[in-house]
Point group: D3
Chain length 143, copies 6
């Protein structure tokens, strides 16, 4: 049986954002999103972990070359998000609230089409050391 191995590459980017629903009043936005809805934006050092799963090549011993994966993340994600205002400077969040949940799904979709379909992909995003998200999710036994 072929042995699948997961490889992980960690990258980071710094960005500003603001959480709000444009159809809502300022008051309701403040109530739901608290300090995160500050109209002048705040920001984060986002840490990004990209997980790619597949069978290592029998000659090289690589699932994918991590420096190739790092370059891909740089080109597809960091070039668009690093040192940007997610709400104002990106088309992805022009009409989508840049919560961690929405950002991680967007990053997954940016990368999915660029990575060999035989390989599984999963993305974890740290907004702070204490708040983070993952997509798609691992199956868990819950009971």
């Amino acid at each position: 049986m072929e042995k699948k191995v997961a490889i992980f590459r960690k990258e980071h980017f710094n960005a500003a954002h603001r959480l709000f629903v444009p159809e809502w009043s300022d008051e309701k936005n403040r109530e739901v999103f608290g300090k995160c809805s500050n109209p002048h934006y705040h920001g984060h050092n986002y840490e990004l972990i990209v997980k790619v799963t597949g069978v290592p090549d029998p000659t090289t011993g690589y699932v994918v070359n991590l420096s190739v994966l790092s370059d891909l993340i740089g080109k597809e994600v960091l070039a668009k998000f690093d040192h940007k205002n997610l709400n104002l400077d990106t088309k992805e969040f022009a009409h989508l609230n840049p919560t961690a949940e929405n950002i991680v799904v967007v990053i997954y979709e940016m990368l999915r089409s660029k990575i060999d379909p035989k390989l599984d992909l999963s993305v974890r995003l740290y907004e702070t050391e204490r708040n983070f998200v993952e997509y798609p999710v691992s199956l868990t036994v819950d009971g």
Copy 2:
């Protein structure tokens, strides 16, 4: 298809504990639990990661509001365990050995009933940087 995202919140608490089986002799407790059975207790900075999985709300982009989740953990877990002696100050470990395995199951159960049943829940507990546990477990391909 609805897209599930996992969100994580990290909290911590400091507590004293002692590992021992009351039916056993001191000698046998020392043999099985080593320094951890010291009768006068020792302690840890416990780091707790709570993972909640579900479909983000299409309006807010939140699976759950992390500040609400943080408050819930504070009320249900930290208020009972932080700066406490787990063996002497908590009803949960009055008759249950406070190993990391038992603590993580207890914390899961404290939180499970307070979180929407549509959401999956999983808890990781670090007793030290090098020793940690998780419940319920992820399914793994083994072999």
Copy 3:
């Protein structure tokens, strides 16, 4: 001889900022500050370490109570900077470029007048895990 001990308290805040000199052209700002001069702002998870040095009280064994120090930092610094745009939302950086160097000096001055003059004070600020600053500086033997 009285024994001085240094105590440290770590806190964090999230903020947006932009580096630029208003008298300069956009081109010159871009040349000097690179991506950090993006007009729509970017952001960071700032980690702050406050160091206070003095002789522990012989009765309590405290230099200062760390929970009192934590509250002071919360009131004097975090309440003003957390989840804010440093350029737009603070009077301190309305006319001062919010480089890490300038931020750390400002934070020092915010705290200095609130802390007993018998105690020494020093502040370290992490803009990212790889870029950080300290003020005032430790004396170093150089050469």
Copy 4:
């Protein structure tokens, strides 16, 4: 129903290695493995996380005693790899390219036969803080 808990133990070792395929020219090795094919070797602080999953013993509350697991990892893995040249000093990598993927599979197999078959086993290996691998892989929902 019996409740499975995962326990984790983190260990580390320092080793030298070189990535190359002996059938290939130096040029091709340099092209595929870059700096990692330097003929005189380079090295890493490898961090190793071993995950063991099973039902806690109802008396002790342990899945396995973590100090027993730590000793086992020390004897089976660290004694062979720590402060060694993986290519020259180990039989496992005499004819196998010591990529992180291959190392993690080898470590898994070293440990699998020594651990009770009722317990699941999984290994994560950090080559650097930014590059890491896991085997066997968690099942992920992908899509």
Copy 5:
């Protein structure tokens, strides 16, 4: 001129403690020390960094052999404090409040007499990731 280099060794221990002044009422202890005065103790994973400064030996290139220093810390500090109740199990804190400030001074004195007087010594102690102390203190320019 001879070149002094500082070397650092990080160790850790787990212990229980309670902060209180025996001459004070429970109420006053609770007021000053808060949760830290819980009569049944709480605990921490203490991280300890020992800094030794001197001129490297011209033959070996060592200030001191770090594995010798690690053994010394193990014998003089960890053997006495690890997995202990500082108030009940140690003579050092039988009549001294085990604040981080007092612990760091005690550890310094335990080590000072065992280390070559030509070498400078300094100790940092982390009670949590956010609360830590250092003794003796670095000279700082203040103002």
Copy 6:
């Protein structure tokens, strides 16, 4: 009075090395350097922190531009040491034992001549998370 601020930049490199004194027998090298004298080398992920101290420029608010400092470290240090065997691939350690103490002094000297003499310089080098060194040393009150 002019206000000096210290700025820090963290970088890393991976290298192999071996500790030994060529005039000594294998037995004596093994006795003094232990596993670190393994003839086939072992390796580390070295973390390097460069500290530069000076008065921030009143216009830019920079002591030095951290991206310029990062480029300088890359050119002067990483290009020579990253993914290298320190004993075999570098002229600096052809006849000097590559202990952490000797490496940190060498790195300091590589950088000192390239940095404005008005600025103070200090270097910290982590060989592992638990073993690290600093040069030149901070003055400490020791008594």
